[in-house]
């Protein structure tokens, strides 16, 4: 008996162990894979599937291959929307991140009285749902009964209508800035808190000014946070939807149904019943966002020590 088992074991063990190992691995990864496939992969796969078809009111559904993509790449409405959110990105994001950085530095500087009060009140707008914020600002923008109207009546000024086609993008930028300065401030502030105190002490011994401390220590130290916040903002800008969608009811002629790519995809799908084309626009927009965010990340991380 004792002699047989050693001979049997080497033969059986590898196969048995290998199959067991494989099974255990799947057991661990299974639940995650199931959820991952269901929640992440399936919707993307379904969108891609949808984008390859075309459903018509007359004629039903037919397979069209990449025709929808071809159409989208030549669609002036899509490119106009993309241009608009790009402009938004280039102007609004630097302003918002600049303010957030200033506030974070001020809070971190330690010379501010009522630090926690400022911290919480600047962060507060982020806790207001975007829909509520847009409604609130929309009412304030009103030139007849809104705050702008009241100011005009009171001061005899004629502040131009923020809901007019020329100013509406700036008006949206203002809402978004108001909403997200606090959020970005918090990212920067928490990054600043972990800068080792010894660096500041060393700087003090060397006789560095506050400005030099900011430039040479603080900003390089939070470079990672800056890149992350920028990437979030790029994604947020390209996905701009809530604010224009809410303001549309107040300024129907200023915000068209294709004002931003996301709004365009929404209108295509829910007013035009062009689900296939809508999926195509969404996929193209997703790809563009991914590429730009990735480029920014590569660029931003390159010089990191």
């Amino acid at each position: 008996m004792t002699t047989t088992s050693p001979t049997a074991a080497p033969v059986a063990a590898p196969g048995w162990r290998r199959s067991r190992r494989r099974w255990v691995g799947w057991q661990f990864i299974g639940p995650f894979m199931a959820v991952f496939a269901l929640v992440f992969l399936a919707p993307i796969a379904y969108s891609i599937y949808l984008s390859l078809f075309r459903t018509q009111l007359v004629g039903g559904t037919s397979f069209v291959g990449f025709e929808n993509y071809q159409q989208a790449l030549q669609d002036p409405l899509f490119w106009e929307g993309l241009g608009r959110v790009s402009l938004f990105l280039v102007v609004q994001v630097p302003i918002m991140l600049g303010i957030a950085l200033l506030v974070a530095l001020a809070l971190d500087g330690g010379r501010l009285y009522g630090k926690s009060f400022f911290r919480i009140s600047i962060f507060m707008p982020y806790a207001v749902p975007a829909v509520v914020a847009s409604l609130m600002w929309g009412f304030m923008y009103g030139t007849r009964f809104g705050l702008v109207g009241n100011l005009n009546d009171l001061l005899g000024t004629s502040i131009p209508n923020p809901l007019s086609p020329d100013l509406i993008l700036a008006a949206i930028g203002n809402i978004v800035t108001w909403e997200f300065v606090g959020y970005n401030m918090l990212i920067f502030y928490s990054a600043l808190r972990v800068v080792p105190q010894s660096l500041y002490e060393a700087a003090e011994i060397d006789g560095a000014t506050q400005w030099q401390v900011v430039r040479a220590i603080k900003i390089p130290a939070i470079r990672g946070a800056l890149v992350i916040a920028t990437i979030f903002s790029i994604i947020g800008s390209f996905q701009l939807f809530n604010e224009p969608s809410i303001l549309q009811s107040l300024a129907p002629n200023a915000i068209t149904t294709s004002y931003t790519p996301n709004l365009y995809a929404y209108s295509l799908s829910f007013s035009g019943q062009q689900y296939n084309y809508s999926a195509t626009v969404a996929i193209i927009m997703g790809l563009i966002t991914m590429v730009i965010a990735y480029v920014v990340q590569l660029r931003g991380m390159r010089k990191e020590p």
Binding site: Q56, L250, P252, N253, S269, G272
Partner: protein, 446 residues
């Protein structure tokens, strides 16, 4: 918008998809007639058995109808939800249908939108449930509007022959007569705005339903649909007649830049800064509930005319109650719809100020003679019933009017905020619609 082309199209047998929108009354009788008797028995037991249904509607008088219906049928619970007016609701409905979840059992759908939902097979054919037996219950226009092919996709709830609602106090103050032609209307607009720079004769920020109804009254026929073939042309005489006058109102800034159904709009109707509404006959109930502060100030007159002495009107809005195909309780839903639109609910709604689509109520003396306290005791329904009889025939909508209206502000709306003219805006609208129609498989302008 209701009653696309009434008598003119009766009997016209249209082929293909668009026939959904347009087919005549005769088609539907056989669809529902046979099975109707069997189902009629069921209705009582369905009500007895009870259940819960969700109704999406913005019609204010339905609240009382729901209360009565629940009182009469204690086992039934009706959840009345207002998810938005017009397009907002259609978007929500489309959304729910696409998601296959949260679809209501009953939805208010304006006549112009019925074909689009019917084409997509989103609505239950009510013929077999009992609607097949209701021939003759409703006025012709609305009744044809809810039929598509062989199916009946909703029961008419109200109709919207247009009239001029005006604030008598404003006209008295300014000292101008209530306009009977559109030229007089333009003059009155100038006078009112001159007397008070904050007051306007009307509000308008570009409203597809209003614009198409105005073109309808002016004799324009921009949409001509025949089966899957159609022409879309916003350059005909009737259309330009309208744009000529309206362009002047826009250019001289005589229209309040306030969107209908907004809070500002209700305020404006209440404080006299919006002096008139050219709108469908379903408006009295909305005025009473939405603008209580102006009680006694409003009156109703015939719609201003394009030629003095004429009596042309058009339909504006008006809606049906339909049962979405995804409803799991279609029989109970239909029982409610029939109660509200063809049963006891009609009188309740008429009492609440609604303008019915049922012949019995419209023609009754009691209805026409009713004095409206809100309108200073005026017998409003007389004017409105008169308007119903004077609707210009031959109007058609395209079978994707919901989409068309959704992009109205992208194109025509630009005339209200930029240097674009109405004519240019309409041309841009036309271009978009032709492209959409082609894409959807229709033959447009060929």
């Amino acid at each position: 918008m209701t009653a696309r082309h009434r008598r003119a199209l009766r009997g016209a047998a249209l082929l293909g998809v668009a026939s959904l929108a347009l087919s005549a009354c005769s088609g539907s009788t056989d669809a529902g007639g046979g099975s109707g008797d069997a189902e009629a028995v069921d209705t009582a037991s369905v009500l007895e058995e009870g259940g819960e249904i969700t109704v999406w509607a913005w019609e204010p008088t339905l609240e009382d109808v729901v209360a009565d219906f629940e009182a009469e049928n204690p086992n039934v619970t009706v959840n009345l939800e207002n998810v938005g007016t017009g397009n907002d609701q259609y978007t929500a409905l489309q959304n729910a249908i696409a998601a296959g979840d949260g679809v209501p059992d009953v939805a208010q759908i304006e006549y112009y939108a019925v074909p689009q939902f019917a084409i997509a097979e989103n609505l239950t054919d009510l013929g077999p449930l009992g609607a097949g037996e209701l021939d003759g219950t409703f006025t012709t226009g609305p009744w044809t509007s809810v039929q598509s092919g062989d199916g009946i996709y909703g029961l008419p709830m109200d109709s919207g022959p247009m009239a001029l609602f005006y604030n008598q106090d404003v006209f008295d103050e300014v000292g101008v007569d209530v306009p009977t032609t559109w030229d007089e209307y333009l003059e009155a607009a100038r006078a009112i705005h001159e007397a008070d720079p904050n007051a306007y004769i009307a509000n308008d920020t570009g409203d597809a339903g209003f614009t198409t109804s105005m073109i309808w009254q002016a004799g324009g026929r921009p949409y001509q649909v025949d089966g899957t073939e159609m022409t879309i042309d916003f350059t005909d005489e009737g259309t330009t007649r309208f744009t000529e006058v309206w362009q002047q109102l826009i250019d001289e800034e005589l229209l309040a830049p306030v969107s209908s159904w907004s809070d500002e709009w209700y305020q404006g109707l209440g404080d006299g800064s919006i002096a008139t509404l050219t709108i469908g006959a379903w408006m009295p109930a909305n005025l009473e509930s939405g603008v209580p502060q102006a009680a006694g100030q409003w009156r109703v007159a015939e719609m201003p005319q394009w030629e003095s002495g004429a009596h042309d009107t058009a339909e504006n809005g008006g809606s049906s109650l339909a049962v979405p195909a995804a409803s799991e309780n279609a029989e109970l839903a239909y029982a409610f719809v029939e109660y509200a639109n063809a049963g006891d609910g009609v009188q309740t709604r008429v009492d609440g100020g609604a303008f019915p689509a049922t012949t019995a109520e419209l023609e009754s003396e009691e209805f026409q003679a009713k004095e409206f306290e809100y309108f200073g005791g005026q017998q409003v329904n007389e004017v409105l019933a008169e308007s119903a009889a004077n609707v210009v025939e031959g109007w058609q909508y395209v079978p994707f009017q919901v989409y068309a209206n959704s992009i109205f502000n992208d194109t025509v709306g630009q005339a209200y905020v930029s240097g674009t003219t109405l004519d240019e805006g309409l041309a841009a609208w036309q271009e978009s619609l032709v492209a959409y129609g082609d894409e959807q498989g229709f033959t447009v302008n060929e």
